[in-house]
């Protein structure tokens, strides 16, 4: 197998994630924390992020239904998600979180609903692209790399 070609593909894929605005500089900060002692650190953080973000989005959807026009509650959920997005550099998701919070501030229910749908789309896009990226990295990595965590 041509590992150097796979690594080039992975690098190109990652560049695309930054060029498309899906990721920002914070993701590089997370990458810088990966070392020999934690060779899969970035993927582990991303796995935790998607587990937590799925839960937070689900909680928010339930809150939208169960607590209509409770903008403080909706904002509190979104604040948590925005924080996680910031921590891994999920830039487009973070922007949708901020727009949602702006709509909460304005008491705009339709705006909130629209933002949530966009956020879910961005979430799905980022998840799919990062899954592909890490899959490629695993193929390109050295033999005996750690087993794939479940995303």
């Amino acid at each position: 197998m041509d590992y150097s070609n796979l690594r080039r593909q992975a690098a190109s894929m990652k560049k695309g994630l930054f060029d498309q605005g899906l990721l920002d500089e914070q993701f590089r900060q997370v990458e810088d924390l990966q070392d020999e002692a934690s060779p899969n650190f970035v993927e582990e953080v991303v796995v935790v992020f998607f587990k937590d973000s799925c839960r937070l989005i689900s909680n928010l959807e339930q809150a939208l239904e169960k607590y209509p026009r409770d903008f403080n509650r909706w904002d509190a959920y979104m604040q948590q998600l925005k924080g996680s997005c910031s921590s891994i550099g999920a830039s487009r998701m973070k922007n949708e979180c901020m727009l949602f919070r702006d709509n909460c501030g304005k008491g705009n229910v339709e705006g909130c609903m629209g933002c949530l749908q966009k956020l879910k789309r961005e979430h799905a896009i980022l998840r799919q692209k990062l899954e592909s990226y890490f899959q490629l990295l695993r193929q390109a990595g050295p033999a005996g790399a750690a087993t794939r965590p479940v995303m």
Partner: protein, 128 residues
């Protein structure tokens, strides 16, 4: 390498805890994690000592500023406490509670490095 700095990370968000913990380890800190303000306060109450505390704002059971206030009220005035939040509006609340400094999240590693170096310098000076 023996750890120079004992760090307490008070953080309920798992992603943030992972990233901040890794940053602290990068500076060879011995890291303890509390999942909310009450756990942090209990650790101090049990007599545990830390050189630096990184404290999030919004946590279940007890939030960051409340925990910081209680820690300082115990007489823990030497420990360096850093307030962290993605909400910049809570800076004043944290400062009133008694943090030494507030930083917005995400915390940059070079900023954390500078804080840890201050703690190390202070420890060295106190040993002279």
């Amino acid at each position: 390498m023996a750890s120079l700095v004992k760090a307490l990370l008070v953080e309920d968000a798992r992603v943030d805890a992972l990233v901040l913990s890794a940053m602290l380890h990068r500076f060879h800190c011995e890291v303890t994690i509390a999942k909310n303000g009450k756990e942090a306060v209990d650790m101090f109450f049990e007599g545990k000592k830390f050189d630096i505390v990184l404290c999030d704002n919004d946590m279940p059971i007890m939030n960051g500023p409340e925990a910081v206030e209680k820690i300082r009220a115990m007489g823990e005035t030497d420990v360096k406490i850093i307030g962290l939040s993605s909400d910049k509006n809570v800076q004043e609340v944290f400062m009133t509670a008694g943090v030494d400094v507030f930083f917005p999240k995400p915390l940059k590693i070079d900023v954390l490095g500078a804080m840890i170096q201050e703690v190390i310098n202070k420890k060295r000076n106190s040993m002279v």
